[in-house]
Amino acid sequence: MTMFSTAPITLSHAHLMRTTLILAGTATLLAMPFAISSFSISLLNLVGIYALAALGLTLITGSGGVTSFAQAAFMGIGAYASAYMTLRLGLGAWIGLGAALLVVGACAALMGAVTLHLGGHYLPITTLAWAVAVYMVFGNLTDLGAHSGIGDIAPISLFGLPLDRPDRAFYLVWAVLVLALIGASNLLSSRQGRAISALRGGAVLAQSLGVNPFRVRLLLFVLAAELAAIAGWLFAHTQRFISPSSFDLNVGLQILLMSVLGGIGNVLGAVIGSAAVTLGRNAIQDLLPGLGLNAGTLEIIVFGIVFILLLHYSPRGLSPLIEALLPTRSGETLPTIGQDERLAFSRTTDRDAPVLAVRGLGKRFGGLAAVDDLSFEMRARSITALIGPNGAGKSTTFDLISGLKIPSSGTVLFLGEPTRGKPAHTMIGSGLSRTFQHVKLRPKVTLLENVMMGAHWRMKAGLFAGLLRLDRREEREFRRVAMLALKEIGMDEDPLALAGNLPLGPQRLLEIARALASDPVLIILDEPAAGLRSQEKQALAKLLRHLRSEGLSILMVEHDMEFVMGLADDIVVLDFGRRLALGKPAEIRNNPRVQEAYLGGAE
């Protein structure tokens, strides 16, 4: 009893703590220029500027899983674009910002469009080449001052006040940074944020949820470059002098160091990493001569060793350490669900209409035929099971039907239309949703958000809606949908638990809830009952029957024969990629060829 009564108090306590921290942080920032020396202020300005560029990396690396060495190069392009506008064309710094964003956006989009299709280590290498090339170009353009750079860049004016001193520029730099941090954290908790998170779980997961991996990567890449462009703009107009060496490969590496040291799992990591690197190096420079040592050469050695030791102590960066000190986010309000309210499906098909037709399907891997001349049809509102010994080609068949693998021969008709040539990420929109044999969930994400990923294609909010939180109404609507989907699998008690903390059986159920949130016509379940206890299996069977009565069609692979025989309307038996038998459960049970495949010959 006491447990329940104290819970809300601790929640509001945490809320109070957070508010206090935010207020204290704001007050400290506002008071900073009055409290410390002008040199320290300009150092803090640099912390803020590099944090912006590092934040871009946090977004693409931490969330999108792509590494870039080119942040400094994008900073440089932004800085030079704005400097050129103000100095050579006599335009204001704010027009310079527009130019910086335009030029950098175009460069990043072009570069991303060419290279983001390439997998593996190609993108980092391309960004590396880009970083070197941009340095060379600025170093050789005499109109931009070549290697000696450009000086006397005009300061930014805000409401007629020139921000020509570090303490004046301080407010602008940090206001921009705070806004960027808020925007980034909004984005990560929006529809696009969930798409990013899905992509982090692999391209297969992303595609099965209707997320176009290339598009998300490109979006992130351009967004990160634009953050670097703003950083470059601030750099040019606060330092008032730029040269190619301010943006060379070493600086690019340094920004990468910052984001990794700060921790790429959290947007605050960018600020922490930038502060640690910038202030840390400065402290080492101050400290070494005091110890009677030659600062010039030793600085980099000491810095490097300290850096490595910090990552030894906390391999995921410093932000997890600091996060542990902060109070946790206060309780989210959950949608309330009526007692008899259930998930509704809108796209059901006529009884007995053919939902899925597989004709002469084949898939060869070199000399091995994983699936060979397979044909079967599935009626609407039916449960069809695909069974067969291990290695019979069941999962490959699923991948062919859901568009993740391209058939070597044959066709798949879904709702009467051939699926060949349709990208895998469009399948969920046409009504086909699936689960995986090896569960693909986002372990550090709540059950609710994992399920909401299933509704990605039904939602509309884009990048800007997410950044500016204009997506609240849609979010509320689909949080309800996700809650209802969780209720279907009987897991609506603790929707804010993390998916990674569930045992394997319930994780499989969660994948089913995610599939249901997409308002499917056909769901494909890969071993849904594996890892479930007998009671849970009964509940699952009941749920699948209910879904069938609601008009859904279900295709599943399952090894538990009792489960399959009691549930399926039709069974397709596969062996060595070929169809061995097709029929009602009773027919399959008495088929001598099936018995032989499963139990071995009777000789």
Partner: protein
Amino acid sequence: MDLQIAAILLQDGMANGAIYTMLALGFVLVFTTTRIIFASYGDLIALSALTLHALQNGRLPGTVSLVAILAVFATTVECWSLMRAGKLRRVPRAILIWLIIPVLPVAGCLLLQDHLSHAAQIALTVALVMPIAPLLYRLVFQPIERASTLTLLIVALVLHYVIAGFALLTFGAEGVRTAGAVSGSVELLGVSVGLQVVAFVSVAALFSTGLALFFRFTMAGKALRATAYNSAGASLVGISTRGSAVFAFLLAGVIAAIVGILIGPTITIYYDSGLMIGLKGFVGAVLGGFVSYPLAALGSVIVGLVEAYASFFASLFK
């Protein structure tokens, strides 16, 4: 561009390609066994050239103190972790492996440095540079062996700054060129081919074949391949993944030492030349997809050829 120039550029390209091939072999070897993109790999090459140059000029190479410091720290860390695990009986072996064996060439260097033939100087350089990579693995990478690939890469990058800083401190800022072991040229199919090029290509070919045979026919090679293929599975069948990692780093260290000796007479090496040299081998490895040795070799030859022809077209001397 006439055929004569094309042939000369082809030679240059092949020579570069041979060097990058050996580098790429080292990158792929380390990456497949440990997931580490060993960005500081090029520094070992720079250290090798700097060491040989110091020995040739009768100076004590800074590598001596680097190896000694690393060995002392690695031994301390290893013994400390053995003692905490209660495995006292393995301490003497750890001291032998991590302290005595790496320090032997250091002692050799201190005692014999003035009385060495050219070949002995080369052998001593290899012996001095060879233990650095495994020692770095033990000290820097093994404690975070489970960290993400990105964290490992970043640590390797920072390690470059540390090693280059150390090289600046001990070797100074001047660039060096070692005295070459081979010079002159031979006539081959009507084209004069530098012996240096012949040496590069034959050493690279020798190494590639040797590695291929090693991986195919020896138990240690098979163990490395098993670790690369699936490290959890390899450890289940009794292969020490850490042992494999140390071995991979040792092999990579040998390759780096030899590359350093080969290129020492042909280009000027500075304390921080390692990053750029390493980068080119890395590009070769990436072109080959980073997992296959033959493809990495092919990728490296392409990088070498592109570099030779591109620098000709970009230069003013054409």
